[in-house]
Amino acid sequence: MKRSHIIAIALIAVAIAALVSSLYDSSTYADLEEALANPGTEYHVVGTLDRSAEIVYEPSRNASLTEFTMVDLEGNTCRVKLAKAKPTDFERSERLVLIGEATSDGEFHARDMLMKCPSKYNEENRMVGA
């Protein structure tokens, strides 16, 4: 076998391994219902902040713990414990992506959170009522 063939085969093998790995390591988007049905499994959950529920952030108790309620895209709600300081302008967030797992007692424990603010890139034109 020529050396170029060996290289070509190695190249393709590594590329396929990288592709499979990226699929294998990837997490899954789920709604709260699915996440709560599988406690302990890590999911990405997309939703919004429930502004009617209390947001609890007590730095003097723990500076890296924020509790709030999330509404997912299906309308399910769940109490969330997020292991991060409360982000600035959390109340104004438009969309949240939680990364974490549900617990068996029906809470969601988020290790991390992505937050999109309406202001960041595409605030709605607020002139509709004008």
Partner: protein, 930 residues
């Protein structure tokens, strides 16, 4: 309702109309150039070239005109225009007008187009015989980009997005009542000022980063166009000589742009580092990797006739990856996975057609004979029709891409092969391998960034995948069938798993490949020349491993450390050994040293970054969930001085300056604690008293037998108030950092870091949470009101309160001072530290009532618990006495602090990479012109 009949007041519609006309002209010019250059390429006819130049000039003037009109609109604050209103405002300093110009989707397309215009005109001037074919490719790209700015409708499909739309013409506003008001600009207050620029973007990085990055993207088009031209002309090797300087120019500019993005994130944003493997960052890194590979393969082929096909492959793929990254970041497919991508706004179909057209162009150009080219084109068009008519988009794209790959592999035959295999120990072989590793590295990053795209591609296969998942019982296949893949939860670990080995191989190759010779190498000489560098690298690695405390389990990191140190040393030595100190030719060596240092700096600073802002107070998060890391944020009460990493820190006060709220944090030296005879300390539940004056040892147990005597008899109160033993105390003040929060009611507040730089490390801090009320200087946080009955227990975040009794103060002095119409209440409470059941205090807040209304109160502070209690109200009710109690915590802030060791290695590497590449480009240009 026909709004065109309304005579609107105060609009500057001429600008928008001019802009639209110019946008159309720019498309017409690009199309004219495309047709004329294309014809000229086929016929070799000079008169067509002249026409084509006219077309491209028309295009260039139109693009410059569009830019000028947009600037005029921005500078004059014509807020009737959507782009102006969304991205600028009146108070904005002039320098940010540039930033807001390219903040939006349309403006950044315009910036990209602008650089193509500049580069295209340089090529018209310089490219000579290559002008016609190269500029044909340019014109095609420009035609696509021009349509992206058109914003016209063909039926229901909008082509591109125009920056010249009035707000009342925006699709979401058409038909709204206010658009019928002729004087809407005066009537509606929102039109008085624009929204302005996001405060995140209000810094000089936003002024320099996008132009650099887009110039880098634009530069990748030049080698691509030359490669296509070479294929068309059948001059399979000649195109590389003119393309090479451009390639390394692209490497330099794109690399600088990417690193500027990292520096921006590090210096001015609170992301907590310079690289986060965010999809948008990845999308700019990937083309750089393949461009570097392409450049090196061109070098190989110039000297030895090998690697021709791969040189084409990487050159073509680099530009395709630029298009793919544009597609990823602008079509909206990234959706929730990135914090800073644009939203789609209907750009997806246009971007997809743009990208796939160039895939088609690349493959067709690679194909050897006219028949195959026609056949492939026919199949592509058929798939396009099938895809659109039957709405089988994904299937059509997948079949197209599969065929494109198949035909590309087939085209491999066309390329001449060297008669004999190259030797194993030759420069060309290992440069070839290195370029392929760069390609693999790019592929891995691309795959993992493309997870949202995979969801789209997997969707049609849900049924078979579900079946397969059920029959094999594989959870993984079932999750694929769901087509709801999310990016890896731990992105950094995922990328490092692959990229650390790739970086190791590349760094190793960078180290020794220069020492190999073309064609064949005398291996004895090779080892002799390399031995010294190897020895130095081993020594550096040993020192590094010891200093940074790398464990055997981190063998991959140690290996990368060694490889990068080796690469830096070997390339530095090469300037003397290989080039005999000739500085003119040292460009590549300097760049290689820089590249190695970038990798080394990134390795050291990220693998040994230390979040020193650990919190020692309150509750441990790991009780909640083992996966939670305990407290990356430190809580600093104003006035307290606490240990953080190698310093004592002290939050002095906050200070408002313009829109910024600065938090002054002092840093003190750590020195051993001095104890004096008679000092009392608490260790666990025992009090000790010092026998003599002494300096504390690192551990209490070392000191206790000689210096401390346990107290046997003491009041419990003494225990509660006693301080714990500590081996250190704050020394002199070393410096102050002022992390700040930019207050912006419209866009939201933005925390900006403050970093202390040393030669060997940085301390990076930013505010996570604080009392942002600039007017509040009481030294306390806003209160929290608790309403309970007398006798109840209140639990606050730091204390437990037992409200024992309420006394009405009636002593003669109080009565004489206030008069009989006042009533004074005093609440007696016992207060316990929430986290220490032994620490009890007493508090007696007072409130004064007159005519049933509270008129004054006197709070009671418990300094040990950092709280003040204010009696807000006393109310006699049926169920008992209702007490309102305000609890104030002493003012605090929550801060994150990270130490990045060795980050200066990274920045030095950046500078060397830039300078080295610049030197190499200059040298290459000189040689060509000589």
């Amino acid at each position: 309702m026909n709004n065109e009949a309304i005579a609107y007041v105060g609009e500057h519609t001429w600008a928008g109309q001019l802009g639209h006309v110019l946008a159309i002209l720019s498309l017409v010019g690009a199309l004219l150039a495309l047709v004329a250059y294309g014809t000229s390429t086929r016929r070799g006819d000079g008169s067509w070239t002249r026409l084509a130049r006219g077309g491209f000039r028309l295009h260039s003037v139109a693009v410059l005109g569009i830019i000028a009109v947009l600037f005029i609109m921005l500078l004059n604050h014509w807020f009737e225009y959507d782009y102006v209103w969304k991205h600028s405002n009146r108070t904005m300093p002039l320098r940010y007008i540039f930033s807001c110009f390219w903040e939006g989707q349309e403006g950044s397309f315009l910036l990209w187009t602008f650089w193509h215009v500049v580069l295209g005109n340089v090529l018209i001037w310089k490219a000579r015989e290559w002008e016609a074919p190269v500029m044909t490719v340019f014109a095609l790209v420009q035609a696509f980009l021009a349509t992206m700015l058109l914003g016209i409708y063909l039926g229901d499909v909008r082509i591109g997005s125009s920056p010249f739309l009035l707000i009342r013409q925006m699709p979401e506003n058409i038909g709204l009542p206010w658009t019928a008001l002729p004087n809407y600009l005066e009537r509606i207050p929102q039109f008085a000022d624009g929204r302005g620029l996001n405060p995140l973007l209000q810094n000089y990085w936003m002024t320099i980063h996008p132009p650099t990055l887009f110039l880098g993207f634009a530069a990748t088009l030049v080698p691509f166009a030359y490669a296509i031209a070479g294929l068309w002309k059948g001059r399979l090797r000649d195109w590389m000589a003119p393309a090479l300087p451009w390639t390394f120019f692209g490497v330099m500019v794109l690399g600088t742009g990417i690193l500027m993005g990292g520096a921006w994130a590090y210096e001015a944003l609170s992301f907590g580092g310079f690289w986060a493997w965010d999809p948008v960052e990845n999308a700019s890194l990937v083309p750089w990797l393949t461009l570097v590979g392409a450049g090196h393969l061109m070098l190989v082929n110039k000297r030895k006739e090998t690697s021709l096909f791969s040189a084409f492959g990487l050159t073509l793929i680099t530009f395709l990856l630029v298009l793919y990254s544009t597609f990823l970041t602008r079509s909206g497919v990234l959706g929730d996975t990135s914090v800073h991508s644009f939203t789609g706004e209907g750009m997806l179909p246009g971007l997809l057609v743009f990208m796939l057209t160039f895939v088609w162009l690349s493959v067709v150009s690679l194909l050897p004979d006219a028949g195959a080219r026609k056949f492939f084109t026919g199949v592509a068009l058929a798939l396009l029709l099938i895809g659109i008519l039957l709405e089988l988009y994904v299937a059509a794209i997948l079949v197209f891409l599969a065929l494109a790959i198949g035909w590309t592999v087939g085209a491999y035959r066309r390329f001449p092969k060297p008669e004999q295999e190259e030797g194993l120990w030759t420069r060309e072989f290992w440069m070839f391998i290195g370029s392929l590793v760069l390609l693999l590295s790019a592929a891995q990053v691309t795959f993992s960034t493309s997870v949202p795209v995979f969801n789209l591609l997997l969707e049609p296969f849900q049924a078979p995948l579900t079946k397969l998942g059920e029959s094999t019982g594989s959870e993984w296949i079932k999750s694929l069938a769901g087509a709801k893949l999310a990016p890896p939860s731990d992105a950094i670990a995922h990328y490092n798993k692959w990229q650390v080995p790739f970086a190791f191989i590349v760094a190793l190759l960078v180290a020794f490949t220069q020492y190999l010779r073309w064609k064949s190498t005398d291996m004895k000489r090779f080892w002799k020349q390399l031995a010294l560098s190897l020895a130095i690298a081993v020594v550096i690695t040993v020192i590094g491993v010891v200093l940074l405390g790398y464990q055997l389990a981190e063998l991959d990191l140690i290996a990368l450390f060694f490889a990068t140190a080796f690469a830096a040393v070997a390339n530095a030595t090469w300037i003397w050994k290989g080039l005999k100190g000739s500085f003119d030719k040292a460009g590549s060596s300097v760049a290689h040293v820089g590249f190695a240092l970038v990798l080394l700096g990134a390795l050291v600073s990220t693998s040994r970054q230390d979040e020193v802002s650990r919190n020692s107070q309150g509750m441990d998060l790991r009780f909640l969930n083992e996966g939670f890391s305990n407290s990356t944020d430190i809580l600093l009460y104003q006035g307290d001085t606490v240990r953080m990493g190698d310093h004592y820190v002290h939050y002095r006060e906050k200070r408002a300056e313009g829109v910024n709220l600065y938090f002054e944090v002092d840093y003190f030296d750590v020195k051993p604690r001095q104890y004096r005879q008679g000092d009392t300390v608490r260790v666990r539940d025992i009090l000790f008293t010092a026998n003599d004056d002494h300096v504390a040892s690192p551990e209490f147990l070392l000191d206790q037998p000689t210096h401390w005597t346990p107290l046997e008899d003491y009041p419990r109160r003494a225990l509660w108030h006693a301080r714990g033993w500590s081996s250190t105390q704050p020394g002199e003040q070393l410096f102050q950092l002022e992390p700040f929060v930019q207050l912006n009611p419209r866009f939201g507040n933005v925390a900006e870091p403050s970093t202390r730089h040393w030669v060997d490390r940085d301390l990076y801090t930013h505010i996570r949470y604080a009392d942002l009320d600039t007017g509040d200087t009481s030294g306390f946080m806003p209160p929290r009101l608790y309403e309970k009955l007398l006798g109840d227990t209140i639990v606050t975040p730091t204390s437990v309160l037992v409200m024992d009794s309420l006394r009405t103060v009636r002593d003669s002095v109080t009565l004489a001072m206030l008069g009989p119409e006042y009533t004074v209440y005093m609440l007696r409470m016992r207060v316990r530290d929430l986290y220490d059941s032994q620490r009890w205090f007493e508090a007696r807040p007072v409130v004064i009532y007159r005519d049933g209304q509270p008129v004054a109160s006197k709070g009671f502070e418990v300094p040990d618990l950092r709280v003040r209690y204010d009696l807000a109200s006393v109310e006699r009710a049926e169920e008992g006495t209702r007490i309102g109690l305000n609890v104030y915590e002493r003012e605090f802030l929550v801060m994150q602090a990270i130490v990045f060791p060795g980050i200066n290695i990274l920045w030095i590497g950046c500078v060397l990479l830039f300078l080295g590449t610049l030197m190499a480009v200059r040298q290459r240009l000189k040689r060509r012109n000589a």
